[in-house]
């Protein structure tokens, strides 16, 4: 589509967003570093930073940690992390997390609850998250402003409206979670929902082990297996947002029945149920991440059944990764959630499979890594999703919030938004 050249106003908005994104992702920077990083001259940077400062999203101050240097240190631009924040939710099978995450990606405060394995009840879930939110928001400074909300959900989520289409391990089908949550929070904000593994990929790409890697695959183990694929720096999530479901890639056509109805999906072979069953470790209370860890631990201590189950899982995991390596030629494959433990415990099997089942060329440069953000990967991803709107157009979003219930930004003089 042909477009007219962008107007000066569009350029300015774009630059404001780019500068804020830079500070948000890479932390404090001097004007000179920003000029260098964004390819703009210093007077433009100065104009942009003063606008963002006036809007209360960044501040300029002397650097704290250069005691030894001679000469006058230059000012650094810092994110206003405690004043500008988002709400991030992580809805896992066994765990609910809500957090206030400040600009720059700092987790300011969090609430967490374990979820019993009972049938999914959207009203209850929304109620629990709303209660957490009230506690989190109550404790903010008077001049803090919530600029977005995002949730990571373990299931397939429609991008357009945050509708949960399918979450087999939570037992959710066609739940309009995004709308329900937005209404219930009553902050005048739309809660964006994303698939947990897709958001995990985003988080590790922006803030974790995958920073600087443009092509990566994040594999997330919860009860099931999720995946998020980043190609050329962008999340590959398909027409409606359902892409990346590598857990339902069939690796063993005559294998175990999967909750999705298919047979021999990667998830059916190495998900929590299969792992624990193969190791003979089923029974009351033996569920969740702790049970998987206990099984990997038993394998390390020489429990033969646990070891065989773990090795078998490594073999299937290697086969799954081999397929992905051949198709996507990723620079990195990242194992998160329970897959971190499974990979570290069965790397010999995973990599042997890779050596025998991939083409040599696409395998050459792939790095296998564990998630750097640990248990917070999906939560951090939800926060990134929540920040996307304000980073796209900081002044517009802030101006809008200022006129709603959530807009608790002080009226600072000098703002020309």
């Amino acid at each position: 589509m042909m477009r007219a050249a962008p107007s000066q106003e569009e350029v300015r908005r774009h630059n404001l967003g780019t500068l804020l994104r830079h500070i948000h992702l890479r932390g404090s920077a001097s004007r000179a570093e920003l000029a260098e990083g964004m390819g703009l001259n210093r007077s433009t940077i100065m104009a942009l930073t003063s606008e963002l400062t006036a809007a209360g999203v960044v501040r300029e101050e002397l650097p704290r940690d250069t005691p030894r240097r001679a000469g006058r240190p230059s000012l650094v631009v810092r994110p206003e992390s405690t004043r500008v924040y988002v709400l991030a939710f992580d809805i896992g099978v066994d765990r609910l997390v809500a957090a206030r995450v400040g600009l720059g990606g700092v987790i300011l405060e969090r609430r967490e609850a374990t979820r019993p394995r009972v049938p999914f009840d959207p009203d209850e879930l929304v109620g629990a998250l709303a209660a957490f939110t009230r506690q989190l928001v109550r404790r903010t400074d008077r001049d803090a402003v919530c600029v977005g909300a995002g949730a990571a959900f373990s299931g397939t989520v429609r991008r357009a409206d945050g509708m949960i289409r399918y979450g087999p391990n939570l037992g959710a089908i066609d739940v309009s979670l995004g709308n329900a949550l937005s209404r219930r929070l009553g902050l005048g904000l739309t809660v964006s929902i994303g698939n947990d593994a897709n958001l995990g990929a985003l988080a590790e790409h922006r803030r974790g082990i995958g920073a600087g890697c443009t092509d990566l695959i994040y594999l997330h183990g919860d009860v099931g297996i999720g995946g998020g694929i980043i190609v050329g720096g962008r999340l590959l999530d398909g027409v409606d947002g359902y892409g990346g479901e590598v857990g339902h890639m069939v690796v063993n056509p005559s294998g175990r029945r999967c909750a999705c109805g298919s047979r021999g999906c990667l998830e059916a072979e190495i998900g929590e149920h299969a792992l624990l069953a193969n190791a003979g470790r089923t029974g009351a209370g033996r569920v969740g991440r702790d049970a998987v860890r206990a099984m990997v631990d038993a394998a390390a201590r020489g429990d033969a059944a646990a070891r065989d189950a773990l090795h078998r899982a490594g073999d299937w995991l290697g086969l799954g990764v081999a397929n992905l390596v051949n198709v996507f030629n990723p620079g990195m494959v990242i194992f998160g959630g329970t897959l971190r433990d499974i990979y570290l415990g069965s790397a010999a099997q995973v990599r042997s499979r890779l050596a025998t089942s991939t083409l040599a060329a696409p395998r050459e440069r792939v790095k296998l890594r564990t998630a750097e953000l640990g248990d917070d990967t999906t939560l951090v991803g939800a926060a990134e999703l929540a920040f996307s709107e304000v980073l796209d157009d900081p002044l517009e979003v802030l101006a809008r919030l200022r006129t709603t219930a959530a807009g608790r930004l002080p009226d600072r003089s000098g703002s020309n938004a």
Partner: protein, 271 residues
Amino acid sequence: MSVTPVLDLRGVGKSFGPVQVLHDVALSAYAGEVTALVGDNGAGKSTLVKCLGGILPMDSGDYLFEGRRVRVNSPREAAELGIEIVHQDLALCENLDIVQNMFLGREWRSGLVLDEPAMEELAARTLTGLSVRTIKSVRQPVSSLSGGQRQSVAIARAMLWDSKVVVLDEPTAALGLAQTQQVLEVVRRLADKGRAVVLISHNMNDVFAVADRICAMFLGSTVAQVRASDVTHAQVVELITSGRGADGPSGVPARMNGVGRARRGDEAGPG
């Protein structure tokens, strides 16, 4: 694209009296990579590490550091080149805290007094940089740390001193699962931050979890130096136990053969 290894030992020989313990040993280690040094008990791994660390003199062979021929006649000379060895028994001082251990013998001063805040901050920043999250305070005495945390401190010390090569002799041998996993991740980060890491381990799973290259020794000789992504677990076990590739000559990737000699520049470097 060919890359010069940071550390490159070739044709190393070493005898104790009449017993020749190392013959024609080769080991290359590259910046940004973990090279696993594997071999059965008595294969000569620790002897090789003592030679490269300047604790034992080599009888013969070439020692190249960043492409230059060097002589390393003492641990001090190794340290001056930027080679840190984390021995299995670690040599941390139990009664000192983490900061004191990390700066031992190389304390920062501000005038006559030690610059405690600066050392403290750098110690904490180094541990954070390696994603070590379980240590609560850098003022804890080392005696209060778990085995995995101690390993992490020893590795962080190597990191702090800007070493180019870090050699870890069986860092996970005495650890439980959670600590082992933590140390493996720290080892991987150390290489990802640009160090050349040499990891000695008997645990093939640990080797495959983090290694980019594998150097296999058998009865005092190097029998293969391979990229870890090109071999299977079974092939490496076969190399260690018999000194041969798994399925005989045809089953072994071509570049696994003839590696006692110099074969540099024939592999793509790290990405």
